[in-house]
């Protein structure tokens, strides 16, 4: 059912954990579906210098969190925000159609974390002006 890549990231997820002095924290999820994702970011200049996550959810949600953090780490905020749910799916060598919704959470969690960072520091991030975590999507 899942690609080898998904299983690798599910069994041995990268960047699991919390960041004590995180610059931004984002938490998204939907109690109905069950998957909940929390992301911690550290910002250095305009670079996402560190990122960690904790996820409650299915294999698809856990693998998506893992690969998303790999993709984001070290990128500029702008480049990282340009990453989409489709990039996450592609990097996992695909997800079964019914599981794609579980990967949306990774993109949402990261955006929430950046928004938290921006709000705390009074920074205007044009890409996030209209961002509302899409609670019902998942």
């Amino acid at each position: 059912m899942y690609s080898k890549k998904v299983m690798e990231h599910f069994m041995e997820p990268h960047n699991v954990g919390e960041i004590e002095d995180a610059d931004g924290i984002g938490e998204v999820g939907n109690a109905k579906c069950g998957d909940i994702m929390k992301m911690y970011i550290k910002i250095d200049g305009d670079i996402v210098s560190d990122i960690k996550f904790k996820t409650f959810g299915c294999a698809s949600a856990i693998a998506s969190s893992s690969i998303a953090t790999d993709l984001i780490k070290g990128k500029t905020i702008t480049d990282a925000l340009a990453l989409t749910n489709q990039d996450v799916v592609d990097s996992l060598d695909g997800l079964p159609p019914v599981k794609v919704h579980c990967s949306v959470l990774a993109e949402q969690a990261f955006k929430s974390a950046v928004k938290d960072y921006a709000d705390k520091n009074n920074i205007d991030i044009p890409e996030l002006r209209d961002f509302v975590p899409d609670e019902d999507h998942h």
């Binding site: 899942y2 299983m7 599910f10 069994m11 997820p13 699991v16 938490e27 109690a31 109905k32 579906c33 069950g34 998957d35 909940i36 994702m37 929390k38 904790k54 996820t55 409650f56 959810g57 299915c58 294999a59 698809s60 949600a61 856990i62 019914v98 599981k99 579980c102």
Partner: protein, 387 residues
Amino acid sequence: MNKNIYFDNAATTFLDDAVYEAMKPYFEGHFGNPSSIYQYCQTAKQGITEAREQVAAGINASAGEIYFTSGGSESDNWAIIGTAFAKRSKGNHLITTKIEHHAVLHTIEYLEKKHGFTATYLDVDQEGLVNPEDLKKALTPETILVSVMLANNEIGTIQPVADLVQITKEYDPKIYFHTDAVQALGTIPLDVQALGVDLLTITAHKAYGPKGVGALYIKKGVVIDNLIHGGGQEKGKRAGTENVAGIVGFGKAAELFTADVVERNLKIKELRDHLINRATAEIEGIVINGSLEHRLPGNSNFSVKRIEGEALILSLDHYGIAASSGSACTSGSLDPSHVLLAIGLDHGTAHGSLRVSLGKDNTKEEIDFFIDKLILIAQKLRAISPL
């Protein structure tokens, strides 16, 4: 270490060797059509006759009351649709429960949506049991069928079917009573006389027989419409050239696995209790769903707090352990198990459910290996979780 441990016997069982041996000749030499009259085909016919007797003996029916079908789903459809259409001049009301298999639920929903029937779906308590008083209240002069499963496929709850039949018949003996006994064949003694039902569904593949073959017991004197129209097989009640090898295998399985059903399942129950005891003692936040008393011997169903079901099943699979979950993420839809919701679990808890259903060849070593791995998996997944 990667083992091959099968703990999903409620989904399907493996084909027993002796059953396979009994079927083989019907794939090799005995390919005749049982309806033909030349000698060649008499063996096929004989095989079916013998199987009908074996299945009948397994549920204390007479051979004339057994009609072979393509499995549990067809038998459920036939019993319900066949009754509804045969009795529509008497009334249009059907009664069932909220925890039936989809083969029953979706059939009744179809009759409601497309054919103008009405239905009452009885609640169950937190152990999954129907309250006989609720059935009493639900019966109306319009009621033509009551369908209550004997044993549930997810939580293993065994309903007081004989009592429910009595209540129904006291209200109106003309109301038919159907029970889905798919999970009961080979796991608990099955006796249509003692139950008093009019219609009973069984399938071969949950009792070490082949897939794609089942039966509907239709009590002598009970009349329902046909579902599959065509040739005159099964005394003109179920058309279609018989699945001869499958039917022979079903007969053999019924003979083998209803004979020592109590003794064999006592051992399975001991193992199951060992599993429940270790799981609840050694893993924090684990609770057993359903009834401990009125329960199939091989069934266990847990809620594991702060663990999502699909992640759990895949982690177990990594160690070669096959089990199942009521999680939505395993079913392809977003709704968790209707059975777990009906016994009062919230969505989140229903997502973290784990069904471990034991069969005749499972061992204590397998259970201990499973619990050891479950402890590790629970630790690992909880460490990843923000909850």
